[in-house]
Symmetry: C2
Subunit: 221 residues, 2 copies
DNA sequence: AAGACTTTGTGAAGGCATGCACAAAATCGC
DNA sequence: GCGATTTTGTGCATGCCTTCACAAAGTCTT
């Protein structure tokens, strides 16, 4: 059982497990069963066990998983031992909210740059950080950085090209529309209106179906 | 070919196609081939054709798809002929940004309620709308409504219970963590930190893989 | 009117993910 | 110590989604 090739579906769930583990770690719980953790995470226990098996064998039969060890193993696998630097580009409403979002810091990320091209915004302070223009950003980037694009749609491609040019290989894109990037660059997209439209479809169909989970995150009550 | 049971994966892409069609409609383009539209939407043409085939036969062989007809058909299928009412609950940074987000209005949604429980926030105006408390919201809801939960994590479950009680059957949840809802209620989740963590995993693995698409939205350039 | 050309719609195949069911492995009680 | 009990790890079956490849169906040219 090599630790290479973890299925994409599993990778997408590891953050969920990590999050589910966090309160247990804090509460000092030492051991958790796949059944319990699956309930917290909103998945099936068999799937959880299979997912964890890709990381190696970190459970004890008849007992369960060592909470702390499992959390640290997932953290390691996700590459979150050291925080990642994040640049938020586009300081509109959304960029503003993202800059102030505390969830990044608590989950392994450090927002290091707030970038905008509007001279009226550059130099102002948002959530305790000074907004810089793209040139200043480009001049100060040294390490690996994840770019978050929260510009208006028309500017998104241009920004993507520019950050790729800087060596960025991971982009989280909030602007609707498709980004063209080189093959070595990964893009994840969050489109709020799309999410609502999917909900609308099912709500309209209504009655028959329902309970469709995005990532298998939801549990019934 | 009944028009029931459209696969989930297809439903999730219909909004993308609709968005890709929009500029074509605006530009007055009359016909588009699956190849062209697939490029715009960032998918493969074969998959696009299969997806569209679930809606019925709206293309003409040797020609392509009538842009306007296709757009209106997808709009109809998604249930977007009439705008849906949306309530944003939790007027923190994110709720604030969502309230001001223009993308909802242009894509079939009308934000009708901004809800918060902080008395200091209730009554204030955000993006031209007055913030109400939950009681006022509950008292004025009549029609179908989609609830967007942008509260802190600890309040999310409580809010979910409350809106379900009001008859809401569709929830878009920005709060990390699992929501327990009755089986007739659908929840979609957007977790920003999770998205970054997935990026971090691939960036760390680096080199070998990359170009992993969230929804198959990205195109290479 | 017929043949060349284009593009859709779809059957079939392959790959991936999920869920089941159970053997393997550990603890606990006596 | 040994059998009962618990819980993991995983082989297998099932179902879903994607991709391929091509026949069907239309347009265009001559």
């Amino acid at each position: 059982m090599t630790r290479r090739d973890i299925p994409d579906a599993t990778v997408a769930r590891l953050p969920v497990y990590l999050r589910a583990l966090h309160p247990l770690v804090t509460a000092g719980v030492e051991v958790v069963s796949s059944e319990e953790l699956a309930t917290i995470a909103g998945v099936r226990s068999a799937g959880l066990r299979k997912d964890l098996s890709y990381l190696g064998s970190y459970g004890v039969r008849g007992v369960g998983y060592d909470v702390e060890r499992l959390a640290s193993e997932i953290t390691r696998q996700l590459g979150l031992q050291h925080p990642w630097s994040v640049a938020i580009i586009g300081m509109g409403n959304l960029g503003h909210a993202l800059a102030a979002y505390s969830g990044f810091a608590t989950r392994g990320f450090r927002v290091q740059w707030l970038v905008d091209r509007d001279p009226a915004v550059v130099g102002t302070e948002i959530a305790g950080m000074r907004v810089v223009d793209f040139e200043q950003f480009a001049a100060t980037v040294t390490e690996q950085v994840i770019a978050v694009i929260s510009t208006p749609p028309v500017a998104a491609q241009e920004v993507a090209d520019a950050v790729v040019e800087l060596g960025v290989r991971s982009i989280l894109n909030f602007a609707p529309g498709v980004l063209s990037v080189p093959s070595h660059t990964q893009v994840r997209k969050v489109d709020l209106a799309t999410e609502l439209q999917i909900l609308a479809f099912h709500e309209q169909r209504g009655k028959d179906d329902a309970r469709i989970a995005t990532d298998g995150i939801e549990a019934s009550g």
